[in-house]
Each structure stands twice: as C-alpha cells, then as structure tokens.
Amino acid sequence: MAYKSMTTRRGFLAAGAVTGLGLSLGDFFALQSAQAASNTFAAPTVRAKSVIHIYLEGGVAAQETWDPKPEAPIEYRGELGSIATKLPGVRFSELLGRTANVADKLTVIRSMTHGEAAHERGQHNMMTGYRPSPALQYPSYGSVVSHEYGPRRDLPAYISIPGQVTDYGGSGYLSTAYAPFSVGDDPANPNFSVRDLSLPKGVSDERYHRRLAALETVNREFSERAASDAVSAMDEFYQRAFELIGSVDAREAFNLKKEDDKTRDRYGRNQAGQRMLLARRLVEAGARFVTLSYGGWDHHQNITGSVRRLLPAFDQGFATLIADLDERGLLDDTLVMVSSEFGRTPKINAEAGRDHWSKVFSVVVAGGGMKRGAVIGSSGATATEPEETPVTPEDLATTVFHQLGIAAEKELIAPGDRPIEIVKGGRVRPELLA
C-alpha cells in the first residue's frame, strides 16, 4: 500500500518543495488515524477550535490566586489580601487585579481534586488526564489533538512555548510524530526567533530553491528503490517543513515583531506576557493546541514573596489575553486553560511556605464553549477538601476533549496493540459548559 503510493508522494514532494504549495496530509497519517480507532463512539460537536494551555509548573497555591480565604485565620489565609471581581461575591488574590476585571469571562474551578502529591505524578495527571502508570506513559492533551486532527494551515498542530512543558507534555505511547513542536526560544527575548524556522543567513530564496531542486534529484532514485513506511514518514515531515517554511502566514505567526508595540506592552514585556501573546498569534494563524509554561510555583518557603514576584506579570498577560481574544472574536472558539500539577497545603508552614496539596486546588478555563463568568465547586473554609462538586483530572480532560470534538472513549492503540481510551473514567461536566 505504502509502496504503491510512493509515486504520488514523490510527485507532490516535488511540487511542494519547489513551489512551497500547501498540500494535504500524507497516507502515513491517514492510515494511522484510520487504524487508531478500535471501538465505536460518537464524535461530539466541535465547540473549541483551538486551545491555549497555560501551565504553572510546581503547583500554584489556590489560596494566593483564584481562591483566597479572607475569612480564614491568618495561618490558613496567608499574608496576601483579596479583592472583589466582576463576579458578585467572588474574590481573587489582591495580585490578580486586572484578571478580576475579566472574571466575567472565566470559569473558575475551585474543586479540582486528585491524589497525586508528587510533582511528576501530578504533572502526568494534569498533562494527560491519566494517573501515572508504571506500564505506560500516556500522551499529553496536545499530542492527542495532534494525533486526531493533524496540522492546520501549515502550522504544527501542537506547539510548546518555549519548549515541551514538563516531562509529560510529549507524545507518550504515541509516535514522536505527535510530540509538540518546540519554539526553542523565549518570546520575551528581544531577538526571539524560532529555531531553524527561517533560512540561514546567506541563503537567498534563490539558493534555497536550488538546494531543494538538488534534493529532489538526489531523493528520486532512492524513493523508488527502498520504499518503506519509515522513509515515507520522513518524506512527510520534510513536506511539512517545506510548507511551514514556504508559508508566509505560518512563518509570520511566530514573528512577534509583527505585533505593534502597544499590543506587546499591553501583554507585558516579560515571559508571561510575550508567551501568551505568541500563543494568541499561533492559534489565530491555525495552531490547534498551544501549551506554554510560566514561572516556578513550588513555594515551600516564603510563598508571599514568591507570589508577589511572579503573579503580577501573569495577571497582566492573562487579563490581556482573555480581553484580546474576546475583542478579536476568538474567545468563543479558543479554549484557554490555566492549570498546575496540584495546589498547596491549607496551612502556611514553618518556613512561611506551603507544601504540596492535591486534595483540592483551582483550575481556570475560559472560552471554547465554557461558561462565561462562573465559579464551580468550593474548597470549603480552609481549602482543605472539595466541599462541593469535586472535579477530577479525568473529568477536566474529558470535558476539554469534548469541546474539541474528540470523544474521550475513543481508543488509541498503544504498543502491543493495546487499545487505550483517550481518557478513562471521566465525564463531561455540564457545570462547566455554557
């Protein structure tokens, strides 16, 4: 099958290489997707066309961000104050002043809960929707999306800023073909550029095309002689690279200089702001799933000082991202999610920090068919346990995939022909949906 299809692929490799024309997906991937589903399921309607996943690595404290406890004693409440938001009766940390003004566009889940209080285990939970297993590493949200949908408008389906987010942001048991494309540089860097995306210095368009013509010549004989799936798969990625390099729109999506200074300032000229701005540009241009990380939130000591240092930039960037997406009419189609591996202990510890706490913490979602302006669940008076409406990582993943038009019960094939559901044991949580 792959052997027969070579002629066509070679044909369009030539076309793509020389003219930079965008072409449809290759047989390799069509074949993989066709084989992938081993069970029956009904694909839900697509509500979200893309996702921006903001990951706060280390375990951000809900008490210092989305779920302050102003009524609790100081050892629970911490040193930070709280402020009112646009949602009546809902308060955020005093450091989330700008975000408070877009609270009417957010859904704050204050009752996320799981049982994994070690970083890597919690990260696996929150990046994949699966509890970690000794036998198998599961694919991240983004890799599943990449596997299910493939690239759009010449952009990689799954992009990570600046690099793969945590050890579990990769393709897990799926082929590395579905791993995130890492931009490989920090957008906050004044000379930010994506690794290997643009032609090297000294290579004109003319020279580039000469090289490609030569490459086409060299590849010709071999593709005939040694046809194989492995060779075709590599052809496919060269093809995607040509499309990306050849598409001005796709390439420019990575170019932050195309944003005017006002916008860049509005997001904040820092890691949080510029990463979120780049994420917006990418989904606007066609990327399906963009994951970005910001800060290190493992505050076992001096949590007040650390949060004061990190949170304001997040506040500015995030409030701007939500407002900007909404102004551009993108928020309805773009699901934004802010998550972390877990939350932090109800009580401040002896070193003025908080330790790991996975029993209850907060996750924020917005857009993509999620409720506009809602608080789901509660963590009680002291953020110790979910008081109502507990939401599990499986539920969250199932709901996010549902919005993307992906049925969580669909089975993907892990090595050893083992069928594995995209998410197991979760349900779509109507509380979250508009």
Partner: protein
C-alpha cells in the same frame, strides 16, 4: 465418504473438491494427514462435555477444518454400549466407560480415546471455576469495567479475577442482599444487571437463556458458596489445533481450549476462554473460538483462561497462485530457518544487494560509521568470492564495534547521572567498566553475572551503580526481567498479567531477590557502598505475606546463607535459562534487521511469540555455544543471505517485515547519524565531556547530549525499554537538517568541497566524490546531468557544490541504512 455428499456446498475452498476428485495423482492439494483434537478426552461428571475438531492437511501444508465433512464413529470398548455419545461435535457420557472416537476423511483415518469416569455424580457449582470464569468471559472484571482499580459505578472486582477471595467478599458481603438475593436468585443485581433487565452502564453481557446466566443463577441458588480453599487449581491450558495454515479470504478453523486441573480432571473451556488474534487483518477469532481468514499473512491466536494464556500459530496462505520455491544455497543456519519459514508462507526472498550497498550497510551496522573512500575503492577492486566475509571480519575488529555495543548496553543499563544519587564520577567509572567489558570481548554471561551480584564501592566496583541508578527493589526486578530476559513484568505488580503467564505471586517472588540490598554513604559524598544486609522481605500486597525468592517460570531459589543476588545472577546467566541467551541474541538480530525475531525485543510473552521460533532458539543456542561472544554471533548474522538482501521488494514479499524476506531501510540512530555527518564533512563535533572529534556513541552520560542528538531521538536512558531510542521523524528534525547549523555548518567548516577542488577535481568529479563518500555509490547519469546543469559553468563553483553536498546530506538515502 461424506464429503462427496456436499460437493463444495460449504464455505470450503475449491482445492478440496479438486483433491477429492483427483485423489490418485500426487498433487499439492492431496490430503496427507488427518488429526483429531483433543488427542485424549476425559469426562468426569454428569454434565461434562468436550468439543472435538478434525483437521486435514494437504501435501502443500494447507490445513482444512473437516469437522463437519468427515464421518465420525464412536466405538465403546468398556462399559455400556451407549456410554459415550457424539452429537454436533460434542462428546458427552451417559455412564462410565472407555471409548474410541474414529474419524474418516478422504481415505484418511484418525482416532482419539475417551475416558468417562464418575459420570454418575453431579459436580457442585464452584465459585472459582464457574463464577469467576463467567465474570471474566463476560468482561465484568476487565479494566474498563468493574475490574478498574476504582471499580465502576460503585462495584469493584479484581482485574481478570486475580483476587478471587476479595471478589467473593465484595459479591456476598458488601451491600448485603443487594448484589445477591439468595432467596430469589433471579432478582440478584448480579443477574439483572448482566442481562440488562435493569439499567446497566455496561449494557447486556449475556442472555438469560445462556450457560453463563445458568451458572451464576445456580451458584446463587446454592447459597453463593465459597470453595476457594479446597478448589483444585488449573495446571495447564491447551489450545487445539496447535497450528493451522488456512487459505486466504474467508476460510475458517474452529479452535478448542481444554484446561487441566490439579485433581487430574480436564474440562472443555472453549466457551469460557477469551480469544484474541494478534493480527486481525490476516485472521480474526470470534468468542466461540472460530478463526476466519482474510488477507495473506500470519497471526497468533491466543486463549486466556484462569491465569494461563496459550496460543496457536495461524498462517493465512494465498491458494490461488502456484508457488515454486527458487533454489538458493543457504550460507548458514540463519538462512536455513529463514528460508524454511518463507517457503511455508509462499514468499520469495529478494535478491542479494549490490556490493556497494552491502559495504555501506555492514559498515554502519557493525562499526557505526560510513565506509571510507579507500575502503570502498579496495572493496570494489577486490574480486575474490569471499570478499564480503573478509570485510565482515575486518569490521568486527573495528574500534567502532565496541562503541556501538557499549552504547546499546549503556542505554539498557540506564547509565546516567542522577541528582543526589549518581554523581558524575561513579557514572563515568560505570560507563568505562562497561566499554571495557565489550572492548575486551568478555563473555556476556560473565559480564552480567558480575553486574547482578556486585557488592562494594561505587568507585572501586562501578557495576554496583546498576543498583544505585534504580534503588527500588520492584523496579530493579522489572528492569532485570526486561533487560536480561526480555520479559515485561510490570503488569503483574498490580494484577496478574492479562496476556502472559506472570502472576502477582511471580512478581513479588522475583522482587524478593532484591529485598536485602543495603547502601551506605562513603567518605566522599559521591561514593556509595552497596552490600547484602541478609535480611528484608518482599511482601505480597493483597495478603501481606512474605514472598520467598523464586525464579521466573522456575523453582524457588535456595538462598540460604548467601546473597540472593548471587543466586539470581547464576540463574539469569545459566545456559539452561530459556530467556537470557535468546533474548540477548534477539537484540543482536534486531540491530541488524530493524525488527527482532521477537518484536518488541523486550516483550517476549506467550501472546507475542517469535515470528520464527526455530531461528529464535538457534540464535540463543549459538550464543551459548560461542561462549557468549557477541562478535561470533554478529558474524553469523551478517554473513547470511538474509542480512545481505536488497531493499527492493518482489510481489510476494512486499508486505513482509517480520520474516526477513528483504531488507528494510532503517533510519540511522541519532548518534550514528551525527557521527556520519561529521565523518563525511570532515568537521569533527565537540561533544560534552569528550575531546574534539570523539564519537557521539562514546558519550558516557545519558543526561549529556546536544540539540541534534535530542532532536533525533537519542535515548534518555530513563527506562530500560528498547523503545527509548527513537527513530520516528519529527518536524524539528526536518527543519534542523534543512535550516539548522549542523548540516550547512559542517559543510562550511569542514571545507571538504574546497579540498576536492584544490586537489584538481572537476565539478563532475566532486559530485561523484560527494556521492561516494556519503552514499557509497556514484551518481547515476541522470543525477549527474541534472546536478551539473544546476551547478553551471562557474570557474570554482564552491557554493553550488556545497548545495549539492547539502542536498545529499538532506536526502533520505543518507539518513537511512539500506
């Protein structure tokens, strides 16, 4: 004769009719054998029964299920004349006796003995043998349903029934009277849910007229007894027929599963076993045990019952085309086994590859580099018949050989630094120890014995770092099983392995070998002492009992007064160990063919058997015979025609991957790809902690590397899985080769083009030089013409030739070994 009565009415191949019609002539479709299964039947109680099948084999190896076509006769030899009956392919007994079942087909004859004993008594219903199998067969205790670790909808069962006592407790004692209604069995939720007469998330599992329903209802009616203490255990399960070779496109074969019990009885468990096919596109198996063929190929069908999984090979052969094997003299045993399998599958192997292809392939595989232009010229000029053999012998002495295998073992042994656990110094010493073992050609069994039994300082006895890199006894046990035996035990940590023989008992008994390791910090913060504490046990998590150390698939170990790891090391490396030598040999094979005889190479299990069992066995035996000398085994493998075949397919072997009928293009591993790029461009690489020009295969630390190596899938050495080193393509790889600094940078800094021009080569000669150094072949006419036209007629076209070089290094032909 019965078949004449149904000329071709049934879904049988035409070949059957022609065979019957021309029985006198020697033809490939003539029937040469008839066998009845099971070969022996015992019937042990009033309701006992046994299915029988008859299989006829043609001269060409094709088998046909003739159960419905043959004539059957039961002759009672002892006891009442009506003692044993055969109805609809089902044997049962009225009273005790001995009978012979005779079957006739196409002039062939076969028999099976039937012993009926104890027929007068009713067998009491059993929780372990009736209820648990029904729950398993109906899928109730599968991972997606109540077998999930958290149960489903408030009801939990142990996965595939690994904890029958717990299951009995949950059924009978949790929510008393809800799941079981002893007064009105049919009102029990267990039954009403299963037949979906009340809402059930899992839907209807079976009918209220089925034998499954009857079994569960009988058990509840009997008071839901617990027979777990006295119940006999299943000692073996057999799947019949053991092998089938059926025609493609809708032919079928019935399989039957028979369980043997510790009390000497046996039982037809066909309706209770779970059947699976490893390759549904060739043949599928339904839950009655019937295999139906589709496209040509082969599959392994398995039956799982109790903790046993057994399998039979099913070949699906094309029956429409005549097959005449082409004569070819085998080079050695490798070819004999490979060719025998290909003949059975009616596949013609590809021709042997050309000399230049062989030279490039073997040099990359054996020495981890490209042939030099001098080697290529000398090889081309050599016209002796044994030149490939001579070349292999030379390559086996190349320093690259030890680097290639040193790297492979470093990946498997997870050689890397770990914060606060393994500092650079002990890691480096460990890596050097490993390279020395391979370099010196130390027998692998000695090396592994030394490693597994090691005690002492992580500086002076660096192999103890094996236990320092992974300190958890459970993980150590898993790693030892996977690395040295090719067995994945992981599943059995939490439940009995669903597709293999390993139980939780096996898992924790194997873990017990590593339960007595003690560690002590040295004076130097980087040093650790590791020794035998002589105490400490592995506990079974279900009932917390201490597990005695027991070898996988073997006996309990005698570890009195000695380090348990010593006993283990001896067992692992003993020539009788059926896992160690074949699995190491299989890794060697996979290095040269891209796929193992067992694939994945570290997942040898009942349901994933070798594609060529005879070859698998022979490779292991040779390794033992060669005193575990890697080089001698590599020599056998690379000398074979099987290794030296062309990538070019023919119509019969186009789809073949696992039977080695042709070569397959394999992407170079990350390290080799970078080394080859450095070699052809003359631009050495500076790698972390290594002198300029050292090879990427020499990097000691799994945590060191660079962008290129990471991007191209270098193993991170975090798990022992052979899949850690990846060769899947990614967008970043393509972008890096196209626009990144490695290819273009090395071409510029290596100045190879300039050197060739300075040597007085014409542009056409430079093009040829590029081709021969990078691809080990000259450019063909068309390529040369096209490239020269592009280069134009500049005096010294350095830039243009660099672009040709760039194109060659970006080509698939360069990145792949073929």
């Amino acid at each position: 004769m019965k078949p004449l009565a149904y000329p071709c009415l049934l879904a049988l191949s035409l070949s059957l009719c022609s065979a019957v019609g021309s029985a006198d002539e020697a033809s490939p479709t003539e029937f040469v054998d008839l066998t009845v299964y099971p070969p022996q039947v015992t019937l042990n109680h009033a309701d006992d029964f046994q299915r029988v099948v008859a299989v006829a084999t043609q001269a060409d190896g094709v088998t046909i299920d003739v159960t419905d076509l043959a004539s059957w006769r039961v002759g009672v030899e002892h006891g009442d004349a009506e003692a044993v009956r055969l109805e609809d392919g089902l044997l049962s007994a009225e009273s005790d006796g001995v009978a012979r079942v005779a079957v006739e087909f196409a002039g062939l004859h076969a028999e099976a003995d039937v012993h009926a004993e104890g027929i007068a008594k009713e067998r009491p219903i059993s929780f372990r043998h009736d209820v648990i199998p029904v729950l398993t067969r109906a899928g109730c205790n599968s991972g997606g349903c109540h077998g999930s670790s958290r149960g489903k909808d408030g009801f939990r069962l142990s996965l595939f029934g690994f904890d029958p006592a717990g299951d009995h407790h949950r059924l009978t004692r949790e929510q008393v009277n809800r799941r079981l209604n002893l007064a009105l069995p049919e009102e029990s939720l267990l039954l009403t849910k299963a037949v979906a007469s009340v809402t059930h998330t899992g839907g209807k599992r079976f009918d209220d007229q089925s034998e499954y329903y009857a079994k569960l209802a009988d058990w509840i009616a009997a008071g839901a007894p617990n027979d777990l203490d006295g119940a006999p255990t299943v000692t073996a399960v057999a799947l019949y027929p053991p092998r089938a070779a059926i025609g493609a496109g809708g032919q079928s074969q019935r399989f039957i599963a028979v369980a043997d019990y510790s009390d000497g009885t046996s039982r037809d468990v066909t309706s209770l076993a779970i059947f699976q096919s490893s390759n549904e596109s060739s043949a599928a198996i339904d839950q009655t045990g019937k295999v139906t063929s589709d496209r040509r190929g082969e599959t392994f069908v398995t039956a799982r019952f109790d903790t046993h999984t057994v399998g039979s090979q099913v070949l699906v052969l094309p029956t429409d085309e005549p097959f005449e094997p082409r004569p070819e003299a085998p080079v050695n045993y490798v070819d004999e086994f490979v060719n025998a399998k290909l003949r059975t599958l009616r596949i013609h192997p590809s021709e042997l590859c050309a000399d230049n292809e062989f030279l490039r392939r073997a040099t990359i595989d054996i020495a981890g580099r490209l042939p030099t232009p001098e080697e290529a010229a000398a090889f081309a000029a050599d016209d002796s018949a044994a030149k490939r053999e001579t070349r292999i012998d030379a390559l086996l002495k190349d320093p690259g050989f030890a680097q290639v295998w040193g790297l492979k073992w470093a990946e498997l042994l997870l050689v890397r630094t770990l914060p606060n656990r393994v500092e650079y110094k002990p890691m480096f010493l460990y890596s050097r120890w490993l390279t020395e073992q391979i370099d010196s050609g130390r027998p692998l069994d000695e090396m592994v014995r030394d490693l597994l039994a090691a005690s002492g300082s992580s500086f002076d006895t660096p192999q103890v770092n094996f236990y320092q890199i992974e300190p958890d006894p459970k993980k150590i046990a898993e790693n030892v099983a996977q690395t040295f035996c090719g067995i994945r035990l992981q599943c059995a940590q939490c439940h009995n392995h669903p597709f293999d023989r390993w139980t939780m008992d096996d898992y924790y008994a194997f873990t017990a070998f590593f339960a007595q390791i003690q560690r002590k910090a040295g004076e130097d913060y980087r040093e650790v002492f590791l020794f035998n504490r002589g105490s400490g046990e592995a506990k079974h998590p279900v009932d917390n009992r201490n597990m005695k150390p027991k070898y996988l698939g073997g006996a309990e170990a005698d570890v009195k007064g000695r380090d348990r790891r010593e006993a283990l090391a001896e067992w692992v490396t003993a020539p009788e160990n059926p896992y160690f030598a074949p699995s190491v040999a299989n890794r060697v094979w996979a290095h040269f063919f891209g796929v193992g005889v067992v694939e994945p190479v570290d997942d040898l299990r009942v349901s994933n058997p070798p594609s060529n069992p005879a070859l698998f066995k022979a490779l292991g035996e040779r390794l033992v015979e060669y005193d575990y000398d890697l080089r001698r085994l590599v020599r056998d493998v690379t000398l074979s025609n099987a290794y030296q075949r062309s990538c070019e397919p023919n119509t019969s072997n186009q789809g073949d991957l696992h039977n080695f009928a042709r070569a397959h293009a394999r992407r170079l591993p990350a390290e080799t790809l970078l080394d080859c790029l450095s070699q052809v461009t003359g631009a050495p690489e500076k790698l972390p902690n290594l002198p300029l020009g050292a090879r990427a295969t020499q990097i000691a630390d799994g945590n060191a590397g660079n962008y290129f190596l990471t991007t191209f899938g270098r193993s991170k050495r975090e798990t022992v899985c052979a899949c850690e080193a990846k060769s899947d393509p990614t967008l970043s790889q393509a972008l890096h080769l196209l626009n990144g600094a490695t290819v273009a940078g090395k071409i510029d800094s290596g100045k190879q083009i300039e050197r060739w021009l300075d040597d007085g080569k014409t542009p056409a000669e430079v093009v040829d030089a590029i081709y021969s150094t990078a691809l080990s072949r000259p450019a063909n006419e068309q390529e040369r013409a096209d490239l020269l036209a592009m280069i134009g007629d500049a005096e010294r076209p350095v830039e243009q030739l660099r672009d040709v070089f760039w194109a060659v290094l970006n080509s698939r032909e360069f990145a792949f070994n073929h």
